[in-house]
Amino acid sequence: MSAHTLAALSQRLGSGDVSSVEITRDYLARIEAHDPALNTVITVTAEQALADAEAADARRAAGEAGPLLGIPLLHKDIFCTAGIRTSCGSKMLDNFVPPYDATVVTRLKAAGAVMLGKTNLDEFAMGSSNENSFYGPARNPWDPERVPGGSSGGSAAAVAAGFAPAATGTDTGGSIRQPAALCGITGLKPTYGRVSRLGMVAFASSLDQGGPLAGSAEDCALLLQAMAGFDPADSTSAEREVDDYSSGLEGDLAGLKIGLPKEYFGDGLDAGIDSTVRAALAEYEALGAELIEISLPHTHLAVPAYYVIAPAEASTNLSRYDGVRYGYRCEDPENLYDLYTRTREEAFGAEVKRRILVGTYALSAGYYDAYYRKAQQIRRLIQQDFLAAFESVDVIMGPTTPHPAWVLGDKANDPVAMYLEDIYTLSVNLAGLPGMSVPAGFVDGLPVGLQLIGPHFDEARLLNIAHRYQQVTDWHTRRPAL
């Protein structure tokens, strides 16, 4: 079952070869047998899943069709699910049962998807290793001593382990693409505003974007089709038609201009990843694409600018956790100030506190211009680099990460070293562009991701470019033995 792609499962459901209840039971059994060793799922919703599956089978029996009808999925535990605990990986929300569904959840439900459970993540999506979870780290199924990446580490590891054909994730600075790369699966971060943020627990509102993690570009296309679209309840949702993501998958790549930023192939890049990515680029040349060296000269400023903007927005967003309206509240507060400060001391983890404090500092009187305004100016320069590059190339490619998955604990005591792992992904969020990570091979048995970056709202083209590569390679089909 685990080797089946979403597209293949969908066909089997359509032909009546299997029922949704059968495949749902299989995935639940696989989670029960193997997740204790990997810790990818925080909450298994078995009862709900079987009810969803029965409903999907009934809809099919009544003549309804659809690629996601009866397909089991996992949701990152950052998407609100009505009546089901949504923890965001935090003690702060360990008792939080939302009264409503996130728009992404609503849309996938309407398409007939079955929810198997909620996946592990770094607390409030802040992290690149999944080690910052209140529920303990998720582990990489390729080597359980190693991190799966983060923050959507549980989603990526679960898909790689065959616990679901696909999962939802969110990406604020690489949180879909980096774990997809480290776990050897395909992940897509859409253009900012393409997927509704309603009911997606907020981290950095000008950067956050939901998207799919799955076994192939073809599967990501099916998921994104259901997830994307204008949502009047999200003030930054793009009021723009959604393209047909599946119909263009087969498009020819002859003459495709691929930009290779020289800054993405320099110091700090693991030699094995460098050669793996170059081999993938050679495949693209064989498909008729042309490789063109480009420059994104402000790349080295992405990490500094991001680590002002994201913490600043986080410090504002996370001010809502005050122990008054929902979530954790400290015992026996002496007064209101004690209630706020002790609730937040006791229920936020170390990395979340650091980011809130950095953000508070950057926004505080006397420092605003030197930090927040400066970072937003650099954000403009980074976006301009990309827009200039897209005048001469169709897509930008490079490594998703500088290193393969590292051993748990190796970077846990050095926040800045951890931040630098996202050097190739952060700029894409700052610029609001769509990006993908596609499996491109292995270094010492660990997966390597090829990153694809496209112009705003060019997801259909990115999926086409990824799909053609997956037709001539089989890296995306490799799965770890559990």
Partner: protein
């Protein structure tokens, strides 16, 4: 830019996060490390560059001034730590 412990205490107060006295030194060191990295920004001349707050330069959408929400206060207050008579309860603020 390095920050001293007194500044960290001030920021923690602004952010409404209690920091145990035993944690202040390590926290100060970590945040100094982050701010040192962030300070690479200061080497770039950004004179005349318009700040980019949101990637698509979106403007706020307006909608008709109509009631679009139903009253769900029971559900929303049902998950609160403490309520009474439809009000959220906090420790006494005025003697």
């Amino acid at each position: 830019m390095s920050v001293d412990q007194a500044e960290i205490e001030k920021i923690a107060q602004l952010a409404r996060i209690r920091v145990a006295p035993s944690d202040i030194a390590e926290l100060t060191e970590r945040i100094t490390g982050i701010l040192d990295m962030v300070d690479q920004m200061q080497a770039v001349d950004t004179a005349g560059v318009e700040p980019l707050a949101s990637p698509l330069n979106a403007s706020q959408r307006l909608r008709e001034d109509q009631v679009t929400e139903t009253d769900r206060h029971g559900e929303f207050q049902g998950i609160a730590p403490a309520t009474e008579s439809d009000l959220y309860l906090v420790p006494k603020v005025i003697d």
